[in-house]
């Protein structure tokens, strides 16, 4: 009974601390509220089921972000997603409040970022909009720092292309 209570408490702590941030990351990948909610819930489930020791807060956060991104990739690769056309809610005005807890002056750039391929989108989104350092992103995405720098640079060029030529 006590164990259940502890788990519930832990669940509430996790949700309070990371839910919004993970939801934004999931939404930036899936561009759909319902799918993003599913991805975040699945990430929390996996975290609670996982018996591996979590070293510290940073490790915990990195684990949750990485798992959320992997779940998003799985959803995007799933046969259901491949065969259906989901509603892209990222361009809807009411979805703008979903993105970030602060006011972004340049909506066009954010929309261009969301159009990037996943391997550019995630580093750019985490670096600029979630304010992660290159070192942290490398840890979260299990990549070398040099790879992240390259993706940030190339992703930036892609954003410019989308903004000027309108193509990803």
């Amino acid at each position: 009974m006590e164990h259940k209570f502890e788990k519930e408490q832990r669940w509430n702590e996790l949700a309070g601390e990371y839910q919004t941030m993970l939801y934004r990351i999931a939404f930036s990948n899936l561009k759909n509220r319902a799918d993003a909610e599913d991805a975040v819930q699945e990430a929390f489930f996996r975290y609670m089921k996982d018996e591996k020791p979590i070293l510290n807060k940073e490790h915990e956060k990195a684990w949750l972000i990485r798992t959320t991104i992997h779940i998003c990739m799985d959803i995007l690769k799933s046969s259901w997603h491949q065969k259906t056309v989901g509603l892209d809610e990222s361009l809807l005005a009411e979805s703008r409040s979903v993105y970030l807890p602060y006011q972004v002056k340049d909506d066009a750039t954010l929309e261009a970022v969301l159009k990037l391929p996943m391997h550019y989108r995630n580093p750019i989104y985490l670096f600029y909009y979630e304010d992660y350092s290159i070192q942290e992103i490398a840890g979260v995405l299990n990549e070398k720092e040099g790879t992240i720098k390259t993706r940030l640079r190339r992703g930036r060029e892609e954003v410019k292309k989308i903004l000027t030529e309108g193509r990803p």
Binding site: Y102, A112, F127, I134, R153, R156, V159
Partner: protein, 159 residues
């Protein structure tokens, strides 16, 4: 007939090989080096007199700013209103003003602290820099992005 005699005879028959790729290479290199140095000097003089932002990295202040076409951070050196500060890793939530410049490759965060604005800059090459800007000393017509951003931050807080 000795071995030396044959060797001498053969050496005399073989014409000296000149690598066409290397011919004149050192002269050309020296010439282009001098040209680069000259144009760099001219740019430095122009930047110092104008005191404006310009694309391309130039040596000014603490270290080279790199060759990125963005704000010249180390231009802070020699500016009365701007002092370099220790990076605190301030979050977006703590900041009074933020600028996300994806196409330029940097983010700026600012917080008003008394008569100063603390500004933190982060670049996509991994650099992080921080400044204390005395807004009272910043000229209104400044073209230096850090100073402009500090003024915007102060205005956003005080209205």
């Amino acid at each position: 007939m000795g071995i030396e005699e044959i060797g001498v005879k053969r050496k005399a028959q073989i014409p000296e090989y000149t690598n066409p790729k290397k011919a004149g290479q050192s002269e050309r290199f020296q010439e282009s080096l001098m040209q680069n140095l000259k144009s760099q000097e001219e740019d430095n003089v122009a930047a110092e007199t104008e005191g404006s932002t310009s694309p391309g990295g130039r040596k000014s202040g603490v270290s080279m700013t790199g060759t990125m076409a963005r704000i010249r951070v180390n231009e802070a050196a020699g500016r009365e209103a701007v002092r370099t500060a220790e990076v605190r890793n301030m979050s977006y939530e703590e900041s009074d003003n933020i600028e996300i410049a994806v196409t330029e490759g940097y983010t700026l965060k600012g917080k008003l602290e008394g008569s100063h604005v603390y500004v933190e800059a982060k670049y996509d090459d991994g650099r992080q820099e921080a400044y204390q800007v005395d807004t009272g000393k910043v000229q209104e017509q400044t073209t230096y992005r850090i100073e402009q951003f500090a003024l915007e931050t102060a205005e956003s807080v005080t209205g």
